[in-house]
Amino acid sequence: MDTTPTDALISQLDRLAGEFAAAIAPLDDEQAMRATQAQFLGKKGQVSAVMKELGKLPLADRPRVGEAANRVKDAIAAAVDARLAALADARRAADLARKVDLTLPARPVATGHLHLLTQVRFELVDIFAELGFAVAEGPQIETDWHTFEALAIPKDHPARDMQDTFYVADEIVLRTHTSPVQIRTMQAHPPPIRIVAPGVVYRRDDDATHSPMFSQIEGLVVDRGIRFSDLKGVLTHFANRFFGGSGGLDVRFRPSYFPFVEPGVEVDFTCAFCRGKGCRLCKGTGWIEIGGAGMVDPDVFAAVGIDSEVYTGFAFGMGIERMAMLRHNVSDIKLYYEGDLRFLRQF
């Protein structure tokens, strides 16, 4: 059977569809596929070249050829879509086939460490801030007057033995306590005063529980009508916030002597670890000694020009290392100051 030119053209077009399918089969990226598509369907493509023959065909045959051409174009487009979809499926499958051993080490995110004493100090200041205390500071190299004289500890007073002092000059010392900040604050501000003063202090003392430099936090409240019982209330609040957890810790006052307070007391908290039952930490007493406190002595008020008939006040001082030691089970005070990363990075 003779094939007409029309039939020949149509079969040529149909063949192109097959050729295209073969041409893109090995391709795995869209760009190459589109280029191949252009080779077939572009103005200078193979389909166009075939279609140039259309003018030579009888008019009646032309619609059949046009249908064939459209069929080829659709087939090519469908082939591209199918191939792309298959490739996308393959890529997704390959991606999902990945396995990563997440038990390998993490990429380190640098996490720094505030010193334990800094963290505890922040917490102490925050707790007292709840009760309206502001923070005050003073110099570490301090005058003898601010450190002792104004605090009712004249030269040759036996109480100077309680705090063995580093001297820099006759009248200049390394402060042995943060109490000179009381004096500086009262000199600078009229009552009412409500401050805490954290800071480092120095004493000639060096053993497992004493360091020649250590930190204290001092508190001072001066106003009309301040009572000894207010001291107990403030320290009770503090004890429960810092050590308490569920609360219920008591404060015990034991009479003691500090020249700059009268009455003066040693302050004990109910042992937070055994809740007062007695344990190793409190040496079986149920109480933990936490610091010294008392009502501001009238002689101290006189030294800074505050009328003790009008104003009364209380002051307290506590060791920050000791509080950190108690709560974090730190075994040796020296660890705080050696810059030992094995210690510092624990907190």
């Binding site: 009760l131 005058t143 001297y167 820099v168 019982s229 009455p263």
Partner: protein, 815 residues
């Protein structure tokens, strides 16, 4: 102060007999902390008082004795074998450790044969009971010993007793004797103090001599010596003290010496009054006792045999011929009591606390006496103590007491009574005190209170209580007796106190550096001079002029730090020694610089400048997952420094070339500036410096003076861009010596309104392609207008302007 429970009870009349635990609780609750409680007889048990009824030699030994003892009158006798040479005659009492008794060292006695004869336990010597060191023979009780047969040996030995270690506060010198403690115990337990009345004994023991004929007092300095009482005891014989008397002294820590010396110590511990016994015959005749300041060049050989140079501040006792004792500190050897002493001048005095303190401290002679004088001895005690001691001397030494006493009495007049207001006491304590509770407390304390109107008293404290001077002192003592447990817990009313201005910059810095991944160290404010010298600072640098500590505990703490760097370098070295190779630390803290106008050396006359610094040190490698190390470099230090400066709110932060810092590498160091002012430095630590700290490998540091940063105000928002930015790059060929900051400055200085940002994108060197000492840099410049999208033409115009400026201002070629 060591105190014996039995001695305290002897001086108290209490409503009910407290246990020692109750006593300890009361004293501690009253402010006299009992730091130790020792059962003196706790070292042994099962040893009893027994009476010797017969003795005979051991048949097979010349050294052993067979002793029959009884432990009840007319009871059955037991035969014990004894090896001591001093087995007493029948009738005397000894101490028998029966089978089952335990002795110090964990020995338990049983019945054992000694040379063939069974001995049920043994008779004890002192040392076998852990008391003293006498092993010359067994303990034989005094002939008149009253202890019942069969009673525990502890009772006979005076060790059925408790030793209290009392922490006496500095203002309670009155509690450095049993009487003072007994006064406290009585007040706290609702009893009263008992004082020995010796007036009858003085009459009984009086001799024909008169004190006035035997000693004269010629004391001018009433301030140095407000009271001096002398008594004469004649005809005494030196010998050992009675066993129980000596035992008390031994228990409180004093070695018994002889009856005469022991009496002075006994009364010191009983009443708190130091006493001294002079051998009257060794004094100038007749003694004319004076108290004065030593003169320069005077010397005195003290009891301990040391020949001491005296200083003009020292108080001395003189006898008309010269110094015979250091007043209140130690007696002189030439006049001390000896075995031949028969007549004693007893000194009972009070001296100025300050002088005693100075002399005792200078000579390192902290005696029982000086410790009491330092805290103040009640001048009213002198004659009572002298009388008590004279009676004891006469009784124990077999002598008589000269009639009368020499008394220099220049006590200040009695203190006026102290007013006490109930309302004030209630207000100050916040405690429910009443008229009745106050009056009861005052009475218990031995104070005389006279009502002075409604709710007011005039209070006269006992003379021993020199600390009760003011109303507040009385309020404290009343509250002590009432009990601090009665104080409620209240909160002060909230008032708006003015907020003192305390800088928060240091804490902001700490938080920022920790957030950046560094670990905070806190190091001592003092350091070793060698560590500062290791920095190699020139002598005129302020930091090379540290303030020295006059009395450091060690050379490592001899100077105040002027920089945080040395202690941090030492911390690196320490971590390396712990086997930690990677160290990244920071510290924020004060450094101490001599104030302006202060001399560069010597002791300062003004307080220091104490600026707060922040310092960062990096050694080893950055944190990494695993595999090859990624060493820190100077740009890490720069990154931390810039992060810190930005966290402190500084806007115009830059790093610029600066004059060489001695402790930094000469080629790797720069200044950190804020607004053009140098606020710190960063770079690599000079290899010589780190080598001095024993660090092998580079250290990078940054240090900033936080005092140069102002407390930032609230951050103000800048408008968020609404139109897109465009970037253009320029590649430049530059001489090696041109710093990047200079290129940046030329670009930034272009006054180009569209310029938004400049960033270095690439840098490379290639001697063959670019030529030696040349570098190629690719800079990326971003342009933006706030109000429109830029056209290509606008961007090109701006960019070409900047490129032209670069080639004009720098030895730069466009590539």
């Amino acid at each position: 102060m060591k105190a014996l429970w039995s001695w305290l009870l002897e001086l108290c009349d209490l409503p009910t007999m407290p246990t020692v635990e109750e006593g300890v609780r009361a004293l501690t609750g009253g402010g006299l902390e009992i730091e130790g409680l020792t059962d003196l007889g706790g070292g042994f048990s099962g040893v009893v008082v027994a009476q010797v009824v017969a003795k005979r030699p051991h048949p097979d030994s010349t050294k052993l004795t067979l002793v029959d003892v009884i432990t009840a009158k007319d009871g059955p006798a037991t035969q014990v074998v004894c090896g001591a040479p001093n087995v007493p005659e029948p009738g005397r009492k000894v101490l028998w450790a029966r089978p089952g008794a335990t002795l110090p060292g964990g020995i338990t006695l049983a019945t054992k044969p000694v040379k063939g004869i069974d001995s049920p336990g043994m008779l004890c010597a002192e040392d076998e009971l852990g008391l003293g060191d006498d092993h010359a023979g067994i303990v034989v009780l005094d002939a008149d010993d009253p202890t019942a047969l069969g009673a525990p040996a502890q009772r006979a030995l005076g060790v059925d007793d408790w030793l209290l270690d009392v922490n006496v506060p500095a203002n309670r010198g009155d509690c450095l004797g049993h009487e003072g403690l007994a006064r406290e115990l009585a007040a706290l337990l609702g009893g009263r103090l008992v004082q020995h009345d010796v007036s009858a004994d003085l009459v009984e023991l009086a001799s024909e001599l008169r004190a006035a004929d035997l000693v004269e007092l010629a004391i001018d300095d009433a301030a140095a010596c407000p009271r001096y009482v002398g008594r004469i005891v004649d005809g005494v014989t030196v010998g050992p003290s009675p066993r129980r008397f000596a035992q008390r002294l031994r228990a409180v820590g004093v070695r018994p010496i002889s009856n005469l010396v022991d009496v002075t110590n006994y009364v010191l511990f009983e009443l708190g009054q130091p006493l001294h016994a002079f051998d009257w015959h060794r004094l100038a005749a007749p003694p004319r006792i004076g108290v004065r300041r030593a003169t320069a060049g005077e010397r005195l050989t003290t009891l301990d045999g040391n020949d001491r140079a005296l200083e003009p501040g020292d108080l001395v006792i003189t006898d008309g011929s010269g110094p015979i004792a250091l007043a209140g500190v130690m007696g002189g050897q030439a006049t001390e009591v000896t075995a031949a002493t028969s007549r004693i001048l007893l000194e009972s005095a009070s001296f100025e606390a300050r002088s005693i303190r100075r002399t005792a401290r200078r000579l390192g002679l902290l005696s029982e006496a000086s410790q009491r004088f330092e805290r103040g001895v009640d001048p009213a005690l002198a004659d009572r103590a002298a009388a008590r001691a004279a009676v004891l001397l006469a009784r124990l030494g077999g002598g008589k007491i000269a009639v009368g006493l020499a008394d220099h009495d220049r006590r200040p007049p009695a203190r006026p009574p102290v007013p006490l207001r109930l309302a004030r006491a209630q207000m100050l304590t916040g405690t429910a005190l009443t008229t009745a509770s106050c009056e009861d407390a005052l009475a218990r304390l031995g104070c005389t209170a006279t009502a002075d109107g409604d709710g007011r008293w005039l209070v006269s404290p006992p003379s021993a209580r020199a600390d009760l001077l003011r109303e507040v002192d009385l309020i404290e003592d009343v509250l002590r007796v009432v009990g601090y447990g009665e104080v409620p817990a209240t909160l002060p009313p909230l008032t708006a106190a003015p907020r003192p201005l305390t800088s928060t910059i240091a804490d902001r810095a700490r938080r920022a550096l920790a957030a950046a991944g560094l670990t905070e160290a806190i190091t001592f404010g003092f350091q070793a001079p060698a560590r500062l010298e290791a920095l190699g600072l020139p002598v005129d640098d302020r930091r090379a002029q540290p303030i020295a500590v006059r009395n450091p505990m060690s050379i490592d703490q001899a100077i105040m730090r002027t920089s945080l760097v040395p202690n941090l370098l030492a911390a690196i070295a320490r971590n390396l020694s712990f086997g930690l190779p990677d160290v990244a630390l920071f510290e924020v803290g004060s450094v101490f610089l001599r104030a302006d106008g202060q001399p560069a050396t010597g002791e300062p006359t003004a307080l220091a400048d104490e600026p707060t610094h922040a310092a960062i040190v990096l050694h080893g490698s950055r944190p990494r997952r695993f595999g090859a190390a990624e060493p820190w470099d100077a740009f890490d230090a720069k990154g931390f420094a810039l992060a810190l400066a930005r966290a402190l709110g500084a806007g115009d932060v830059a790093v610029a070339a600066a004059a060489a810092v001695p402790y930094l590498h000469p080629g790797v160091g720069a200044a950190i500036t804020v607004g053009g002012v140098v606020v710190g430095h960063l770079g690599e630590v000079h290899p010589d410096v780190r080598a001095r700290f024993g660090i092998d490998g580079p250290v990078y540091l940054a240090e900033l003076d936080l005092g140069r940063f102002a407390e930032p105000g609230p951050v103000q928002m800048r408008p968020v861009p609404r139109f897109p930015a465009s970037s253009r790059d320029v590649s430049l060929l530059l001489p090696e010596a041109v710093p990047a900051a200079e290129v940046e400055a030329v670009i930034a200085g272009a006054a180009e309104a569209l310029l938004e940002r400049v960033a270095l994108a690439e840098e490379y060197r290639d001697a063959e392609k670019l030529g030696p000492d040349k570098k190629s840099q690719l800079w990326s410049i971003t342009y933006r207008a706030p109000d429109r999208t830029l056209t290509d033409a606008e961007i090109e115009r701006a960019h070409e302007g900047i490129v032209a400026r670069l080639t004009a201002h720098l030895p730069a070629a466009r590539r």
